[in-house]
C-alpha cells in the first residue's frame, strides 16, 4: 500500500527553481533513501513535504489526501514529522522539555507520557540525562534527542535529514540501527543521507537526485549493484 505519493513536485526559492518536478512514492513500513550530491534538492524535498516550504506545483498525497500547501502543524497532525538537518535542539531547555515539544500537537497528557516512556526505552541514554540541558549533550546524544523528539508526535512517516551530520562512524552505525528499530515498530522512514552506502544498506528503496530531478530509482539492492551509481556515489573505482 502506498503511504506517500509525491507527484511532479516543484519548489522555488524566489526565482530559483530547486525542485524541477519530482515523482516518487513510499510504501508503508519501508525505509526509503533520498541520495545525491550537495545542492541536488534533497533537503528541499523534505521541507516541502513537511510544509516548511510551499510547493509551486504538484501534489503530495498522504493516504490519498493531498497535503501540499497545508500548514506545518496540520501536516504533523496528519502524521508526518520532520527531523531537520543540524538537529535544532533547544539548547536552553532540558532533554525532557525538548521531548515534550515534539508532542505539542497531542493534547492528551497521559498519552504524551506513554509515548515519552517508549522513546526513553528506545534511547536509554536520554533517560539518564533527562534533566540535562539540550546544549550540553554530545553530538550523538543530540541526534538521538532530535529523532526521539520527532517520534513524540507519534508519526506515520519520519523524515530524517542527514542523521550522520558530525557523528563518528561508530555512533553513526548506532543511529542507523535505531532507525531500523523504529521501522520495525511500524513507522515509515524517508532518510536523506550523504553516506549513500550505509543508507542503502538499511533501506528498501532508493532515489538518486541530481539538480532538482530524480535521475534513478529502484530497490536498494539494484542501486547498490548498479555500476554507474557505484562509481558516482559509492566510491568504487572501475
Amino acid at each position: 500500500m502506498k503511504l506517500l505519493e509525491v507527484e511532479n513536485l516543484e519548489t522555488c526559492y524566489g526565482n530559483l527553481k530547486v525542485l524541477k518536478g519530482i515523482t516518487f512514492s513510499i510504501e508503508k513500513g519501508q525505509i526509503a533513501a533520498l541520495l545525491g550530491a550537495n545542492g541536488a534538492g534533497k533537503s528541499t524535498t523534505l521541507k516541502t513535504i513537511s510544509g516548511l516550504l510551499k510547493p509551486l506545483n504538484g501534489s503530495i498525497m498522504l493516504e490519498n489526501e493531498d497535503i501540499a500547501r497545508l500548514e506545518t502543524h496540520k501536516i504533523i497532525g496528519l502524521g508526518i514529522t520532520h527531523v531537520p538537518e543540524g538537529r535544532f535542539i533547544f539548547s536552553t531547555l532540558s532533554v525532557d522539555e525538548n521531548l515534550e515539544i515534539g508532542a505539542h500537537i497531542i493534547n492528551d497528557k497521559k498519552r504524551v507520557l506513554e509515548i515519552k516512556e517508549e522513546v526513553y526505552n528506545m534511547f536509554p541514554r536520554l533517560r539518564e540525562r533527562y534533566k540535562q540541558l539540550g546544549g550540553t549533550l554530545s553530538g550523538g546524544e543530540q541526534q538521538m534527542l532530535a529523532i526521539g523528539r520527532g517520534l513524540m508526535a507519534n508519526p506515520k512517516i519520519l523524515l530524517l535529514d542527514e542523521p550522520s551530520l558530525g557523528l563518528s562512524p561508530k555512533l553513526f552505525m548506532m543511529i542507523m540501527d535505531k532507525i531500523v528499530e523504529i521501522r520495525d515498530k511500524g513507522v515509515t522512514i524517508l532518510i536523506v543521507e550523504q553516506n549513500a552506502k550505509a543508507a542503502l544498506k538499511i533501506s528498501d528503496k532508493g532515489f538518486i537526485m541530481e539538480t532538482g530531478r530524480i535521475v534513478k530509482s529502484g530497490t536498494a539492492n539494484e542501486l547498490l549493484n548498479d555500476p554507474v551509481i557505484q562509481q558516482a556515489y559509492l566510491g568504487k573505482k572501475t
Partner: protein
Amino acid sequence: MQKKYSILKSKLAIAYLLTFILFLLLPIVLDYSNNPYWISIGVNYLIWIILGLAMNIALGYAGLFQLGQAGFYAVGAYVVAILNVKIFTFVIYGITFKIGGYSFFPSLLIALVISCIVGYLFSRPILRLRGDYLCIATIGLGEIIRYILTNDLINAPPGDYAPPMKILGTGKSLLIILDNPVGGLTGGPNGISGIARPEILGFTFDTPFKYYYLVMFFVLLVLFVMKRLENSRLGRAWTYIREDETAAQSMGVDIVHYKLLAFIISAGIAGIAGGLYAGRYTVISPAPDVFGFGASVLMFCIVVLGGIGSIPGVLVGSLGLVLLPEIFRSFPEARYLFVGIAMLLMMIFRPHGLIPGNMLSFNKKYCDACSSNT
C-alpha cells in the same frame, strides 16, 4: 534533590509573601508620615508594573520585539474616557439605543475587549516579520494610534460653542448622534477631561491612598493570570517560539496563532493599565511622553533591565525606572542622567537583567545535570 527543590520553592514563597506585605503596608506608613505625594508615585509605580507585565508577555515570553505597546495603553485610557464622558445615540431601522455615560468598571471591561481587538488588527498584518523588522513596524503602528487620537476622527467645532448634538452619520438604516460633542470624539491635542473616578457600591476611589489598593488588586489579578499562563500549553509554546522559531515550527507549533495570542493578551493587559491611568488622573491627552514612543521604550527597558521573562524582574525594573527619576526630581536638569548612569551600570554588571527569568530553574537543572554526570 527533591528536598533541595522544595526548600528553594518555599524560600520563593516567603519572598513573594514578604513583598506582598510590603506593598500592602507601604501606603499606610506613608499616610501616617503625611506623604500623599509619595503615595501617588506608588500608584504610578503599580500602573507601570501592569504595563511591564503586559510587555513581559510579548517580549519576555514570546520574544516579540514590540515597541508600539503605548498605543494599547492609549486605547485603554481613551475607551474608558470616551465611554465615561460621551454619549452616543444609535438609530438603526427606527430602533433607538444609547451607548456611553458608563461608570468606570463597565468601561474598563469594554476597554479590555477593545484593546484586544485593536491588538489583533494591529498585529495581524505584521506577524510574519521577525526581530528588528517587527520592531520597526510596531513603532510605526504605535505612533499611528497616537496620531489618530491627536487628529480626532470627528471634526470638532472649535471652542465651547458646539451645538448640543452632532450627527456623525446619516442614512436610512443607521444614524449615530454624539450627544455632547464639545471637543469632538477624542478631544484632539487637548484630550478628554472630567472622567469620573471609579466607584463601586457607593464607595469612590478618590484619594491616591484608596486608588493604590484598587490598582494593587489589578496587579494581583494580572499576576495570577500570568502565573497560570507561564506553565500552560500556551506558555510553553511561547517559550519554544522565543528559543527557536524554525525548530518550533518544524515541531508542529502553530507560530502564527501563538504569536497572535501573545500580541492580543499583552494588548488587553496594557489596555487595563490605560483605563486605570484615566481613572486616576481624570484627564488624558495624547502627550508623547505619556502615550508616545518614549513610553513604549520605557516598558521595553523595564522588561530588559528587570530580566526577560521574569515576574520579579518586572517589579524591580519598574521600581528603578519609575522611582529613580522621582528621587532625583530636585535636580530637574540632570535627573535623566542618573537614570542613564543606572541603566549603564546595570547593563555592565547584570547583562541578563537584575533578576533573569530562568535563573532559578537554570541553577536547579545545572546542579542536577552535574550530579548525574558524576
